[in-house]
Symmetry: C2
Subunit: 335 residues, 2 copies
């Protein structure tokens, strides 16, 4: 059966390509190449798996349609949020010294750090220009409101990133620090996607608030679920223990739970990097201290909150149906 | 005598500080500190000389006033262009591996590259949010036009930066490549400052075009003059030859002129880095090949173009008078 998403996803790619085609001067072809490589359209390993899931533009379009709006009119806004996300990924990869993303070499690793930073900057500018493409189709006040929502989310993104980078050297982190960080790094932009979608979809203030909260809790649920899988997911436990968040040293929710317990896990964690052969034992220890159940319950709570807000927004049509399905999929409710 | 600039400069600082004070959460104090350090307000060596000349906001405010507008109403736009400029400086310093700016340690050198990138990103976001602060005071269409002018300039900025970074490894550069690069890196934002100032000042399309062109040629004249001083200025020639553009290897206009001549200078330049004790001899050689006169004439031509467009914009009052004076000062006409 053809879903609405099957129609939206190719339309998103076309709009993204249109936005990035702003760089037409032949002198700029190599810059254009770096952008299309990062977006997953060109170069070694290009294709669907290199493009990511395009969750943010999907959410924006589905929210717009679920409010009764025309999704095709807001494609430039959908492109904008995906470009914002990708700008942050490009800089993230440099900051984390990551050589691989989605199974391919990262831009900075391929073309050098200076060009990597600049390519990220260019993506952010194109994201801002994309939104301005809505000028002929929508009321100027709506567009300025959307710009404010998105830039506010971007500020939260840089705040979250600041905290994430600062946390690397700290040993006194609490779960409260975690929530501040993931609200900025993950929830703010997802929340803005839903707020902007409902704004252009014609939702009134109550509906827009409901969608904004939906996106917020969806982001938190998604992140907590990701943290769960980072320790107890198949890839983290079987064979490829190198992918465990315990090995990469990520300050995820279960780890901070364990640190607050100040037990056996905390003692080992604070004693230096975890090797892959410790992963099985240490994840069992963390589970024994209650972190697995706590993380699972927290993900469930956040998912329930997201679904509750989504129901209160009273989404209509296929788009509404698909928002519920997407929520369940992203939060692992279908596990 | 008190000039208009004496009034504008403190008002610009207050507005910039207001914009950056968005980061109020105590957890974000260190991020706020990095921003205020970079802006020259806090930390070792803070003060007027650490703040730069604030040329871009000055131009925007003077242009607005010279069109008969109220400069105080557009202070958030003035802050926006200065923050855009500083965002690009922060990332430039990382890309060029510069440890010093305005006589002080650079942000990335002090706090690390990852935080340096993120602080630059935050500055750009705050620049975008600043412009949106104009919403209650101006027509929404004007604000969207200003946003388009500024983001288009930012795209040109990243394009110019891409070219600059690419040129480092190329030996076949021509003066045409130079103009493309400096149009993006220097002229585009100065041009946008004047275009935005005249837009909010109430200038009609002819006036706005004149100011846009004025800013463009002012930017080119300023850059060429900077290139001239980088080789034949006092700091470049006497004592501190280490500051000569010949030593830093900058692809400046005189150098590209010399390369196109394919003479003695070009041969030496392509043969590897220039040491400080070669500076006197090589700058004389470049002068002998005609580069000094050519660069001087080009700066003069660009300055004449700028002044011609400025006159055609018919600027009024003290602001108009100060625009002429600022132009002469920036382009070295008062040397």
């Amino acid at each position: 059966m053809t879903t609405l998403q099957d129609v939206l996803l190719p339309a998103i790619e076309v709009e993204l390509q249109h936005q990035i085609s702003r760089l037409v001067d032949p002198r700029l072809h190599p810059l254009h190449d770096m952008l299309t490589y990062h977006m997953g359209w060109t170069g070694d390993g290009s294709g669907r798996s290199a493009q990511g899931k395009r969750i943010r533009p999907l959410l924006l379009l589905l929210t717009c349609a679920a409010c009764g709006g025309e999704w095709n009119a807001v494609l430039p806004a959908a492109a904008s949020v995906e470009l914002i996300h990708n700008f942050s990924l490009l800089h993230d990869d440099i900051q984390d010294n990551s050589t691989e993303r989605r199974g391919r070499e990262t831009v900075w690793y391929k073309w050098g750090m200076p060009q990597g930073i600049n390519t990220g900057d260019a993506l952010f500018v194109i994201a801002n220009l994309s939104l301005l493409d809505l000028v002929p189709s929508f009321d100027t006040e709506l567009i300025l409101s959307a710009a404010t929502l998105l830039q506010t989310a971007c500020l939260a993104l840089t705040e979250g990133q600041f905290l994430d980078l600062s946390y690397e050297k700290r040993e006194d982190l609490t779960m409260e620090d975690y929530w501040t960080m993931v609200t900025g790094k993950t929830a703010a932009l997802l929340s803005a996607c839903c707020a902007v979608g409902s704004l252009f979809g014609g939702g009134d203030e109550t509906i827009r608030d409901a969608y904004r909260n939906y996106g917020h809790f969806l982001g938190l649920a998604f992140q907590v679920q990701d943290d769960y899988l980072g320790i107890w997911g198949d890839a983290a436990l079987t064979g490829k223990s190198i992918e465990s968040d315990l090995v990469t040293g990520k300050n995820s929710l279960p780890v901070l739970f364990g640190l607050e317990k100040k037990g056996v896990f905390a003692k080992r964690w604070l004693n230096g990097p975890i090797s892959p052969d410790e992963v099985m034992g240490l994840s069992d220890q963390l589970e024994k201290e209650g972190a697995r159940l706590y993380t699972q319950n927290t993900a469930d709570q956040m998912t329930d909150m997201a679904l509750q807000y989504l129901r209160s927004a009273d989404p209509v049509g296929n788009a509404g149906q698909e928002l519920f399905e997407l929520t369940n999929k992203l939060t692992g409710r279908q596990r």
